[in-house]
């Protein structure tokens, strides 16, 4: 990367580590070298004390007991542990799991594995705004159902599901409720116990902490939830996840949680203003712009938008020397398939290929947004000048009636 100032609007992919977090971590690389599981010397005690402190910081953010936090390597591992761990632990009770088609791959691929292990999984549709249908959810529950897994906020669109209502349905039917809350924790209030959530996966690097450390909240009382470990070894983390704890990472994760607890409301208020400014500018400046996901139930810092008749990756190439974002276009993935999340919302492949996700963060400034509005608007106009389907649309050609040559 050059010295030129770059604008980072891909905070849903990962957030920059807050400098205050880095400062908190540094002593634990060299000055405090111990293994938190070494119980016989001051080096181990110091490491264990630091881990316990971080566990408290994280528990406080979630308003849970510190014994309910299980450290992992990240949200993918937490999702795997929750889903496969519950499936193995409760398989005598039933083998059925319900989830959404718009979940993260860490959940969907764990569910695919569970199907191979003899489980049955129902993948529910969402509506055109990305929201779950609660009646369909309740209707899908049967006596073999052991777990319902619904993500708190979607990574691509920021759509927030009605967690309280889902929790009530789970309680009514005596089914465990798990949530992949990776995109929500540290950004909005996430108190699992208030909503009837029994397991919750999240990670440090989406909330201004370091990469490589995450956690799973596991409810301890009413009901006492247990998961079968997926990583065997020294029996760390109450036997649910073996492996030497990443002490500097956990210290950073704890610091990130403490900062989030104090600052996330102010961050959210500031970012929603900037996000709305960005979104409204595109709507005002450009034609044929479509916002994806329910604007009434959405994370404050995310804007997923389709610029019709412009291909997402091509559009990104017009400004990716200056601004970093993501696209739902197939061309950004090796599979050549556009975003399955947007397809589940009922978008046509053409609009899914035309989508860009802007995700703002704590270090986003108003100047960043103003520059992004100018660069992206210019890029959209450039791409439309080049686009034969934009020209056809402007001439009034019915694009749905054209015989395209699929390839």
């Amino acid at each position: 990367m050059s010295d030129k100032r770059l604008i980072y609007l891909d905070n849903n992919a990962t957030t920059p580590t807050d400098p205050r977090v880095v400062d908190a971590m540094l002593p634990f690389f060299h000055n405090v070298p111990g293994n938190a599981a070494s119980r016989n010397h001051p080096f181990g005690w110091a490491a264990e004390e630091a881990v316990d402190y971080a566990r408290d910081q994280i528990a406080k953010l979630l308003d849970v007991d510190n014994r309910e936090i299980i450290f992992t390597s990240g949200a993918t591992e937490s999702d795997n542990l929750a889903l496969k761990g519950v499936f193995e632990m409760y398989k005598r009770k039933g083998n059925h799991i319900i989830t959404l088609k718009t979940e993260h791959k860490a959940v969907l691929d764990s569910c695919k594995k569970i199907e191979k292990m003899g489980g049955e999984v129902t993948y529910l549709d969402v509506d055109d705004k990305g929201m779950i249908n609660l009646a369909e959810l309740e209707a899908a529950i049967k006596k073999e159902t052991i777990l319902i897994s619904v993500m708190w906020a979607n990574n691509e669109t920021g759509v927030i599901q009605p967690m309280k209502e889902i929790g009530d349905i789970c309680a009514k039917h005596g089914v465990l409720f798990m949530s992949d809350a990776t995109q929500a924790v540290g950004k909005i209030k996430t108190h699992p116990k208030e909503l009837g959530i029994h397991l919750m996966a999240f990670t440090s690097h989406k909330m201004y902490g370091p990469k490589g450390v995450g956690a799973l909240f596991v409810n301890r009382k009413n009901p006492r939830v247990k998961v079968t470990s997926q990583m065997d070894g020294g029996g760390h983390e109450r036997g649910m996840r073996s492996g030497t704890l990443n002490v500097p990472g956990i210290v950073g994760f704890g610091m990130a949680a403490e900062i989030a607890r104090k600052e996330m409301d102010a961050d959210a208020a500031r970012l929603s203003v900037l996000r709305d400014k960005l979104e409204q500018a595109f709507i005002d400046n450009l034609e044929e712009v479509y916002v994806n996901g329910d604007p009434a139930h959405r994370m404050p810092h995310v804007c997923n938008i389709s610029f019709k008749h412009v291909e997402g990756e091509g559009l990104m190439m017009t400004f990716n020397q200056e601004v970093g974002v993501s696209s739902g276009s197939a061309c950004t993935s090796a599979s050549l398939e556009p975003s399955y999340v947007l397809i589940a919302y009922g978008l046509g492949d053409d609009l899914a290929h035309s989508s860009i996700r802007f995700s703002l963060g704590r270090f986003t400034t108003e100047q960043d947004i103003d520059e992004t509005i100018a660069l992206v608007s210019k890029g959209v106009n450039h791409m439309r000048d080049l686009s034969p389907i934009w020209e056809m649309y402007k001439e009034g050609v019915d694009l749905d009636a054209v015989q395209w040559t699929e390839h």
Partner: protein
């Protein structure tokens, strides 16, 4: 994924963007791809009395590689006979732009667009 300088130049400063009159007897038009697949390429040639391509224009909806492939194709087409145009191979485009493997389909699309444009011209003038 880093792109070649040539590809980036064709993307940022595309050559021969535009539209020829598709009803003109001397103009052949190729329209390939589909919006659902993420790329649509329209390539047009204007052929003189000697059967030489005197002008070529394109418009493309697609990624940077698709735009660069069609821009390059129009450059190569100018001055060629229609038979020489048919001999343009997609792998030549791949080599010239150093397209990565996942983008080879963009060059195939450009070759298809050339063939369709030439065939359209031939049909009109049969």
């Amino acid at each position: 994924m880093a792109y070649s300088e040539k590809l980036l130049d064709h993307f940022k400063n595309p050559k021969n963007v535009g539209t020829l009159d598709k009803t003109d007897q001397n103009v052949g038009t190729g329209l390939v791809g589909a919006p659902e697949c993420g790329d649509v390429m329209r390539l047009q040639i204007q052929v003189d009395a000697e059967g030489i391509i005197e002008d070529a224009k394109f418009k493309t909806f697609g990624c940077g590689s698709a735009i660069a492939s069609s821009s390059l194709a129009t450059e190569w087409l100018k001055g060629k006979s229609i038979d020489e145009a048919l001999a343009i191979d997609n792998m030549a485009i791949v080599e010239e732009l150093a397209l990565p493997p996942v983008k080879i389909h963009c060059s195939v699309l450009a070759e298809d667009a050339i063939k369709q444009a030439v065939n359209d011209y031939k049909t009109k003038n049969a």
